[in-house]
Subunit: 366 residues, 2 copies
């Protein structure tokens, strides 16, 4: 039996579920046996992750009937068309309503497999086994699932909670540096929106995280999951405070959509989006200039970009943000900052400063 | 103000909603105003229904921002690809999470529009305005939404309840005779599974229904909706008795899938499926031969087929039934009959008699 280092509960009444965090957990038969109610298991993975970890997972699933579907790797494949491959496999193997889908991979695999679990025969069991930092600290927790549309990211989807999340820290050893940094963007986000102490801890431990120090990574994943679980438990369907988790995402989604999915990693776009949110907050007089500098310094230190790509102009930005889910009845809502660890969702801001941020933003302080 | 003849509640706790039944209700502004919470309304219809009723609906929606998307007509278009047209329209019109989708049409439109409402930005408001008898008595009530996959009918979908259902009996005047008969299959089903008095009433009033007598149709719709609402309220997600509503559907889906969607109407396939369920029940010794005769007589009187198409043999039937959602862990569950008004869901039957029904079934009593 593989020891579980840590367990965080996402408290959602009858849909409450645990996040298991530890090294080597992918191989933990005990966890799967607790959470898989019938014999049929379908593993959804991608062509990068499957060669590394599929065998370890299927060995731990001995005794179940296991099939798998291997998707192409990348955000540009998070489409209805690729998603349909999961159903084709489920149906050709005659899988029924009692089957369990396991997502083995990063955020794209988790979002697509989760949305397939939400909708196959109107809903089957689902387990997340995230293998990227971004998926471990963010996308695998909270039940957001979906695919992209050519006109907007994550526009087609469902809220669908997994039976459990299995976070194996050991998988981070194989993650490439760019993906690791992208995950750190979401880690930094938790510090910014709600947890100033964590932000300070990150400033002190960024080198250790980038060097993949096991205990530093475990601590960062645990604290991020606890932050996320608390917010999700209070507001599962994002009618209120959950929207704070979108810090940097409205700007970031515009970058991702405008550049074409797959050019920028989600975490990279969010990193720039957080810098833009900080810039706009400073222009509104809500954030001190030296705090903005400190935020950008940590994001840069994490190996992340702090400036948007040159290819998107101000009008295109506004148009791309107009179809973001955070827009209510035509008014743009943004997550902005009052300080490190203090954020708010608002549509009450001076549009001029938004335009200035979009137009004049260059990553430098002007 | 258009008077509402009747109102049936579907009791589902905080998701409780009314079915309004009456003549001319499509034009009732009052109903829409009660159930649409924001300005953006997207009407999903098809190329047959839109020319007949879209104008009447949009006139009643004066004051709202109205856009529409017109889909091709027919079960063969109930695909992910056609479904995606709804999102393209929502996104290009920059519709937000507070928008309302109205399904104006038959079962295919309702299923696709409802599934789009369930998943657009992870869920927006939804109203059903069914214009076929089948949609009015069955598919618009109960929250089953979805699309077909090449390997199985309704295999991708969600349970998603509407805000209300607006049943305008006047729309049945324009329905072609084949569609009217198809709807009567589901009406007869309610009598068979649970309501012997209604079955007898149908035997007496079938001519009136086929002649589109307004009060006969209103009564049949009302009684069908009450039957369905009761079952759905008791078992929203089909963990138990809701499965009774699938009488004839496992056989029927096999016919629809085997023949290619769009060749047989859903109601026609269900009609034959009910005859097959009756045949098998009789072979098992559960149903009297004269009762089987009586069932087939009513179905025939409704203008419906009682024999499966020649093109599907017994092995193909079994294979097609094997991917039906009603299969639990490899065992086939069927809805069978003990009498008119008395049905059961069971996987406990002699497989030989199933084979005999599939193999020897000819619509005649052998």
């Amino acid at each position: 039996m593989v020891p579980v280092t840590d367990k965080v509960n996402v408290a959602l009444g009858e849909r409450t579920y645990p996040i298991y965090i530890g090294s080597g957990l992918l191989g933990s038969s005990d966890i799967y046996r607790q959470h898989i109610p019938s014999s049929q298991v379908m593993v959804v993975s991608n062509e990068t992750v499957a060669p590394l970890y599929l065998r370890q997972l299927t060995d731990a699933l001995e005794g179940f009937r296991i099939e798998s579907v291997i998707l192409p790797d990348g955000e540009q494949y998070k489409t209805l068309e690729v998603w349909n491959q999961i159903f084709t496999q489920l149906l050709s193997k005659k899988y029924n309503r009692q089957c369990t889908i396991i997502a083995l991979g990063g955020g794209v695999v988790g979002d697509m497999a989760g949305f397939a679990a939400a909708t196959y025969q109107r809903g089957v069991h689902f387990i997340q086994a995230p293998t990227t930092l971004l998926a471990q600290v963010d996308s695998s927790v909270g039940g957001k699932t979906g695919v992209n549309h050519a006109l907007g990211k994550n526009m087609i989807g469902a809220f669908y909670q997994p039976r459990c999340v299995v976070v194996d820290i050991a998988t981070l050893a194989s993650l490439d540096q760019r993906q690791l940094s992208a995950g750190l963007a979401e880690v930094i986000k938790y510090g910014l929106i709600n947890d100033a102490d964590f932000f300070s801890w990150l400033e002190e431990h960024m080198e250790a995280l980038l060097a993949r120090d096991g205990s530093a990574l475990a601590y960062a994943v645990d604290r991020s999951c606890r932050n996320k679980a608390k917010v999700v438990a209070a507001d599962e369907k994002e009618s209120g405070q959950r929207a704070l988790l979108n810090l940097g995402h409205t700007f970031g989604h515009a970058i991702e959509t405008g550049m074409g999915y797959g050019q920028w990693l989600h975490g990279e776009a969010v990193a720039v989006g957080m810098c833009m949110a900080a810039d706009m907050s400073r222009r509104l007089g809500w954030l001190e200039r030296d705090v903005q500098t400190r935020i950008m310094a940590l994001i840069r230190k994490a190996g992340l970009p702090v400036e948007p790509p040159a290819g998107i102009d101000y009008k295109q930005f506004l148009s791309l943000m107009g179809v973001d889910k955070k827009v209510m009845d035509g008014r743009l809502r943004l997550v902005l900052l009052k300080a490190i660890g203090s954020s708010l969702v608002t549509e009450d801001f001076d549009q001029t400063e938004l335009n200035n941020t979009l137009n004049g933003y260059s990553g430098k302080l002007d």
